[in-house]
Symmetry: C4
Subunit: 205 residues, 4 copies
Amino acid sequence: MGDRWGTGRLEAFSDGVFAIAITLLVLEIGVPARDFDNLWKGIADQWPSYLGYATSFLTVGALWLAHHGIFRRLSSADGVVMRLNLLLLMLVSFLPFPTKLVAEAIDLTSAERAAVIFYGGVLLAISSVIGALWRHVAGHRELLHPDVTDEEVSALTRQTAPSPGFYIVVVLLAFLAPKVAAFGYLVIPLVGVFRIGGDHSAKRA
Amino acid sequence: MGDRWGTGRLEAFSDGVFAIAITLLVLEIGVPARDFDNLWKGIADQWPSYLGYATSFLTVGALWLAHHGIFRRLSSADGVVMRLNLLLLMLVSFLPFPTKLVAEAIDLTSAERAAVIFYGGVLLAISSVIGALWRHVAGHRELLHPDVTDEEVSALTRQTAPSPGFYIVVVLLAFLAPKVAAFGYLVIPLVGVFRIGGDHSAKRA
Amino acid sequence: MGDRWGTGRLEAFSDGVFAIAITLLVLEIGVPARDFDNLWKGIADQWPSYLGYATSFLTVGALWLAHHGIFRRLSSADGVVMRLNLLLLMLVSFLPFPTKLVAEAIDLTSAERAAVIFYGGVLLAISSVIGALWRHVAGHRELLHPDVTDEEVSALTRQTAPSPGFYIVVVLLAFLAPKVAAFGYLVIPLVGVFRIGGDHSAKRA
Amino acid sequence: MGDRWGTGRLEAFSDGVFAIAITLLVLEIGVPARDFDNLWKGIADQWPSYLGYATSFLTVGALWLAHHGIFRRLSSADGVVMRLNLLLLMLVSFLPFPTKLVAEAIDLTSAERAAVIFYGGVLLAISSVIGALWRHVAGHRELLHPDVTDEEVSALTRQTAPSPGFYIVVVLLAFLAPKVAAFGYLVIPLVGVFRIGGDHSAKRA
């Protein structure tokens, strides 16, 4: 039989997990009852939750763009792609937990550093797995549609390769200045999301 | 390679986020154990939760209709569309938080006004982003399918342009009469949902 | 432009809401810490939660089958279909709240009756709206694919019409015997799910 | 009318439920406030939650692979397939509850054994239902696409048949050594996920 479903259902399933992980992040945000006397201040005091929300949301958003860029060029998925994709989804679904930890631990001297490093470790793992997934595909050109050009392959390699390096730098920074690192995690996907404008492949997305 | 997936996966991902944000709203609703002695009254006392639920549900529903109206006319998405859509999803996923705040703060003199204004600010931001997204597309006709008529473009502009104005009026009203404004937020998407019957494009949706 | 997306995105969005509402039901189930000393008994004591879970799950499952039966015969959706579908989704997303109420109130003399009647009211509303949706479509044959036969229209009418009647009977029963009615709500979708085997249209689903 | 939607919407609905059940698992994970003084230890102490998360995630992941393997070979679904699939989804959505129980009960002498056996019972039920679903399809070849070969049918039978046996063994082990059994539940889907690499049908997935 033909592979009528091709990678379609794999993408649909991944999109479902991405969309849900991104949306569950809001459930952790709330203003404690005692802060309702001065609600504007109570809303403002939740800034670590907003920072965590925006960071994890944009991380998954940037990841979704890279994932989409890879999968729409795939003609079929082998066992390695299936397994790396499953590992990727497992890490993305896990993200709400370290996000919540950072929001809870910021400004607690004893816990802030550990929470920010742990969060960075999960972000580093996510960017490493999507990088490994692409490197596997780029090394097995028979998995790609025949009309994918070398130029497109190089562009995607340039897009996915450097992220783990950035995360390692920011995680190291977290040992010295956890709060600065927490904002650093936000900058990485922001750059990723803004770079897509100049990428000619975005025209096709 | 061709853009076989076109805007399909972008729509599917957006639909996922819309559907989940809409469905999570119910998790905040509950009757406290102490109200089980007179459960009918306990159920009735939760009316601010029902108001928030209906308002946010219909807001996302009306937004989904507008989003669907825009994206099924798109032949491709550029970087600006991708970024504005990501910002839109980020605001929609955030909606359960201010919705919960309004439900909790109504009838608390000190907090009611702040909660209703904050909620209105998020609703205003959502309607501004979908408006900006459509204006960008309308100004870049090469993003639209070639058979989209000028009449359709004008109709969608008429549909998306006035909403931010309505929200500004209701947010200003919230400074004087927060409870009236809370009902005002419900009326805006209700009108949007009822208008679609008279729109010839709905025949095609 | 053609209606390339037809009713596809409407169905995908509805499926998303159905799938999420069905899945969130489990979040309310848990064994209190004090019951861990005798966990088998603690697990058994949660039977009202399992009853509520199974009832709401099968209700949404049977609804999904009817919804699928209607929408795959639609060639386009008018404003009334869009609005009734939005109302249907709003009621389905709301279902976890009365489900939780029933699970909490069973065996509480004062609250049991109210919770079971309230739950039945929401189930009655859901079955009425899907019935109204089908009657509207059956009365506007231009919304249906041209090859839908009169026989198929009659079969769907027979399938969707009687449910509201059953729910009215069980809600009336709830005034006398709430616990019996709670099991009655489970029987209605069970019958619906088992009837599909004899329906020749299931072959096509 | 033609069955244009075929089994597509059935798969999309199932994928939605799988994706959500998998993603909700993370909501149960958290570090209690008292453990923030030594957060690294607090994070490490949550290992039963991570074990439960990984086990349930991989179980659903392996199930999704088998489900995908079955449904992309189906040309149509009869009433039995619809009902078994609904039962399967009901069990999968239920999984977060026993997963949470295991994470809470590990190291509690009185509750550990009961929680691990109950969890295993649900896993056994899931693997039995997907096995029954495939056996029904394999016995009704008219439900399959005409180009599905006998070899493919045998391969899927070999893939789905032995799992219930493995689960029975591990559940029996749970009576003697609950903690060892809890890790055993993780090994079964891991083997399933790693086996797909050698399966020629994975090339097509």
